[in-house]
Amino acid sequence: MNFIQQLINGLSIGSVYALVALGYTMVYGIVKLINFAHGDIIMVGSYIVLFSMKSAGFPFWISILGAFTLCAILGVVIERVAYKPLRQAPRISALITAIGVSILIQNVFMLSFKPDPRPFPNVIDGNFGIGSINVSYTTALTIGISVLLMILLQLIVKKTKVGKAMRAVSEDEGAASLMGINVNRTISITFAIGSGLAAVGGALYSAAYPLVDPFMGAMFGLKAFVAAVIGGIGSIPGAILGGLIMGIAESMTKAYISSQLTDIIVFGILIVVLLVKPSGIMGKNVKEKV
């Protein structure tokens, strides 16, 4: 029974990794940029929920909606100000800029809110039992919200006009604009969705590990990025799969091996995947046309 318990814990943290990994993968798909500031959006999202609940007294639901909206706007602004001017520049310039934006956000938050970790308010208490397994409401809520958002995203990308435009732009920007697609707007929408998902991921993560500090996004973001790479960067189902693999591997390592080895195991999986299938589990082999 302990195994199933750990599996559920793994799914819970894994689905949060997946939410954040989706942002990395969608942004990479559309502008071929590893957005290193994405991890810090998680932290911003957590702070927004923290203040909204503690200072303004809003319930968790409204706070999470607020964090989604504000971080979506923040994502769009970052893209417009920092990345858009570099769209034709070599990708390494944009990558370095992304690292710069990440450092900027971290330090703005450190100066504004002090570097000390703050306790995150309790979202919901209690457990419920299925047979002999105990599941906390927080875990169930995390899995529930994540699954819901992933289904919603899948529907948007597959069924809507905006989703088709996103896929078209990520494949061929020039051809997409010849179809009458506004490329800039499509890229903005992608950043908005990705950043919004990261904010929700941050809130759910903080609900489970209730400490918030300005640097919490760095390691968490890195792991989510690794999840995106394991699944195959650019692939939406890949990001979900990668996130779940990471989460389950982490919780299994903690339970059966040693909690000090979790990071070694997780990054070890990355190395193995990159050795066996460098494009990631669901990644495509892109052939260069000669």
Partner: protein, 237 residues
């Protein structure tokens, strides 16, 4: 006849390279006009500039009385000027149907969309059979048909076609050109850019010959087909 597309003293630089050196031409409503020339003459650059993918250094160009200078590519399509780009550039990860749906991305009228969709599938029965397939799994000829069909979806006034014969077997080239002719018979104005000058001249009303960024000759397609210099340079002797 009124000129639908007119290009006036167009100059394009790629960095220090003067790629288009003062090109002027026009296309009248209802015509098929060919722009022929060797590799690297600047044919694709001209089409990309008209469609708004490349910004010109100087020069004026207008479509249907509207100036196109510095207009964004997605706005130009909405004026009724579509392009079938070189190398087809279909969205290979999307299905045939989704590709066609993107063709009318800028159109809102549902009834119009339904009719055009039906019309395009009638024109290309092969696409109808394969509409659920990923576009990347189509053969080269089918991909070219999809690229043309996609451009037709918005029922443009004019289509720019960039090397529609590229990489296709001779029998398919014939088929594609007969489709282009059929579109023209329905009243669509067409500018074809081609290396296969023979084929393209045979369906055109007029043509321009482009050499390293300048237009060196312009005449009716008929007389260019008979011109000794053109024969030697572009029609295989």
């Amino acid at each position: 006849m009124s000129s639908l597309l007119s290009v006036n003293d167009l100059h394009v630089y790629y960095g220090a390279i003067h790629a288009i050196k003062g090109v002027s031409f026009e296309v009248n409503e209802g015509e098929i006009v060919s722009l022929i020339g060797a590799n690297g003459a600047g044919k694709t650059t001209i089409l990309h500039t008209i469609s708004g993918l490349i910004k010109p250094t100087s020069g004026n160009f207008s479509f249907n009385g509207k100036k196109l200078n510095s207009m964004a590519a997605d706005k130009i399509v909405k004026l009724g000027l579509a392009q079938v780009p070189e190398g087809r550039r279909i969205f290979s990860e999307l299905t045939v149907q989704e590709n066609l749906e993107l063709g009318y991305y800028s159109v809102k009228d549902k009834e119009f969309i339904k009719n055009e969709y039906k019309h395009v599938l009638e024109l290309f029965p092969r696409l109808k059979e394969r509409r659920k397939q990923l576009a990347g799994t189509l053969s080269g000829g089918e991909q070219q048909m999809l690229a043309i069909g996609r451009a037709l979806m918005s029922k443009p006034k004019m289509i720019l076609m960039d090397e529609p014969s590229m990489g296709l077997a001779p029998i398919l080239v014939k088929e594609i050109f007969s489709i282009i002719k059929a579109c023209n018979n329905e009243g669509m104005t067409i500018l074809v850019v081609e290396q296969n000058a023979n084929m393209s001249l045979s369906i055109s009303n007029r043509a321009y010959v482009l050499e390293t960024g300048s237009i060196v000759m312009s005449d009716t397609a008929q007389s260019l087909l008979g011109n000794e210099d053109v024969k030697k340079a572009y029609l295989g002797g």
